[in-house]
């Protein structure tokens, strides 16, 4: 029987089962339960290491060290904490080191708030730190999906030698719902790991060729865009309006879509599961009769809506793009329905 589990706790246990044997972190609401859980749980498994560090910078750099030795290493944080990690995340990308980072997104600029939100979409999908790199960005909409994503995040990170971010709203970490935990995977060391024998030689800092590295990176990212887009969609082909949303906002959006369909509206829904690579292939289903695409998010300005508009252009889709940014929390289904009617009645204008 599936058991009620809190999102953060379930993710912690999923990490153990995915073979994570190293966690370094610093507490921050609303992600702290992940580290609280792993602080004792890693001690119960062979070779499990847990360290609480002085800040997020030290945490992610310790994760760099563990990952460079081929161990499945993890850290988790939120808004400000992930900001502090950006430099080392760029290093992980540059050194082709696979790591999984969990971010339980909280709303706001500066010191931010404790509200659940999707305010960090642009940062996570653009790499976030200096330079020109990307991370996988996986967006769960249920606790079960988050749990199942942990092993997937490592598979992708290790296959393509890069960082995977599981980006969930804070509320997903705090809420409970029934979960079936995945099986325990065999714990393996990555073949890229240092062992002191100089079998995994790294080029000197000043001996690398940035031009060929850039080409290699482009090819790798193109391959990922081709093969690793993930999304869910429903009733897109004949829809007058297509809704898009990810995570809990997408989940609420799906509720609004089902209600609106029951009321006789022809609406469809696309839920990105990977925010990067952006699931542009989902747009192939959109018909030319569709009157508009409506993007539901919880941030101030609308962030994913920019990707939606950009990729619609790429796919020759001319219809208007509407933005419904509900700032923080989980959007209320009734609000989405009310705003949909404003769009239909031309009371809300498109943004692209």
């Amino acid at each position: 029987m599936a058991e009620m589990m809190k999102g953060n706790v379930a993710i912690g246990e999923a990490a153990i089962r995915a073979g994570v044997r190293f966690y370094a972190g610093y507490p921050i609401t609303p992600s702290s339960e992940i580290m609280e859980y792993l602080s004792w749980r890693l001690g119960e498994v062979d070779d499990g290491v847990f360290v609480q560090l002085e800040n997020e910078i030290a945490s992610i750099n310790m994760v760099v060290g563990a990952a460079s030795c081929g161990v499945r290493a993890m850290t988790a944080s939120s808004g400000n904490g992930i900001s502090l990690m950006q430099e080392a995340m760029s290093v992980l990308a540059d050194e082709n080191l696979p790591v999984v980072i969990i971010t339980m997104v909280r709303y706001g600029n500066g010191l931010a708030t404790l509200y659940s939100s999707q305010t960090d979409y642009l940062r996570e999908t653009r790499g976030g730190g200096h330079g020109d790199y990307r991370c996988f960005v996986l967006c769960p909409y249920t606790v079960q999906e988050a749990v199942d994503m942990v092993a997937l995040a490592y598979e992708l990170a290790e296959k393509y030698k890069m960082v995977s971010i599981i980006m969930a709203e804070g509320a997903l970490g705090q809420m409970m719902e029934p979960v079936d935990l995945p099986a325990f995977l065999d714990v393996k060391r990555g073949e890229w790991g240092f062992d002191g024998t100089y079998t995994n030689a790294k080029l000197g800092y000043f001996d690398r060729n940035s031009m060929t590295e850039a080409e290699e990176l482009r090819e790798r990212y193109d391959l990922i865009k081709e093969n690793e887009q993930r999304w869910d969609s429903t009733d897109v082909a004949d829809a007058d309006y297509v809704f898009m949303g990810f995570g809990l906002a997408g989940r609420s959006c799906l509720g609004a879509v089902e209600d609106l369909q029951a009321e006789g509206h022809k609406v469809g829904f696309i839920r990105p599961i990977t925010a990067w690579p952006f699931p542009e292939k989902a747009f192939a289903e959109i018909g030319s009769n569709t009157k508009g695409v409506i993007v539901v998010e919880t941030n101030a300005m609308g962030q994913m809506v920019e990707d939606v508009a950009m990729y619609m252009k790429k796919h020759g889709l001319q219809m208007p793009v509407y933005s419904l940014p509900y700032v923080y929390g989980v959007p209320v289904i009734q609000d989405i329905k009310d705003d949909f009617k404003k769009i239909v009645n031309n009371e809300l204008k498109e943004v692209f």
Binding site: V64, G65, F194, K202, Y205
Partner: protein
């Protein structure tokens, strides 16, 4: 009797250090100690940003270049998952003490079982000679053009003394490369530090005073005199915390 002086295999390559720089001596000493301890193919270096970065090119050992100041944290992560390896965090004074004060202190505070080798040339060499945490009082750098005024910058930072007196570390010392005698003593410190790590005693650190003729605006020989006459009186040499728990 003549002693054979073979260059350790993994540093027997050209490096990019300036003429008269002390980095080469230190990296060779560390390599010699590793060879003598049978650890030369059981070592991982974390390398800081600064002139230490130049070491990477000529060094054929497992190594990771780290974010500026964070090499000790990276080294700790390595040691926690690979306790059988010798982990050396090789950093300059700007890297380890200025930008990296947090990570260096945190690593010593937790008594992580790694060895930090800090190269102290009293300035930021790589970026062209700016003031660092160890710049001497009155020293002219490109950001203290009238000489370091400690009333506004704070005083030069003494890391080995600080961790030896405040933290539960295994070993702390300061050496210098200004003379053959001091180089020999330095090698002893480095070996002690590595042995402390291998024995699982805890955190060890060796700070090394080296000349920086390029940024000091001196000849190599003047630089050595400068170390002897001006730097060593402030940054005293010797063991600050001996193995076995005694602060010196």
């Amino acid at each position: 009797m003549e002693k054979e002086r073979k260059v350790p295999h993994f540093v027997d390559n050209p490096s990019n250090f300036c003429p008269g720089c002390g980095h080469g001596i230190v990296s060779r000493l560390v390599a010699e100690c590793l060879e003598e301890l049978g650890q030369d193919r059981n070592v991982i270096y974390t390398i800081g940003i600064g002139c230490s970065s130049n070491m990477s090119a000529g060094m054929k050992a497992d190594r990771l270049h780290c974010c500026h100041g964070r090499a000790s944290a990276v080294a700790s992560g390595m040691k926690r998952v690979n306790p059988q390896n010798v982990i050396i965090s090789y950093q300059g004074d700007g890297d380890a003490y200025s930008i990296g004060m947090g990570e260096s202190m945190g690593t010593a505070y937790r008594n992580e079982k790694i060895t930090m080798i800090t190269i102290n040339n009293t300035n930021y060499g790589m970026t062209g000679g700016q003031m660092s945490a160890t710049t001497m009082p009155g020293q002219k750098t490109t950001t203290t053009v009238y000489g370091r005024d400690c009333s506004v910058t704070g005083n030069p930072f003494k890391f080995p003394e600080l961790v030896a007196s405040q933290f539960d570390v295994a070993y702390a010392a300061r050496g210098s490369v200004d003379s053959v005698g001091n180089i020999n003593r330095l090698k002893g410190y480095i070996k002690d530090a590595l042995e402390a790590q291998i024995a699982g005693e805890g955190y060890s650190v060796v700070e090394v005073l080296i000349p920086c003729p390029t940024n000091w605006g001196m000849t190599p020989l003047e630089s050595l005199d400068h170390i002897r006459n001006n730097i060593i009186p402030y940054y005293t040499l010797g063991v600050k915390k001996a193995r076995g728990g005694k602060s010196v």
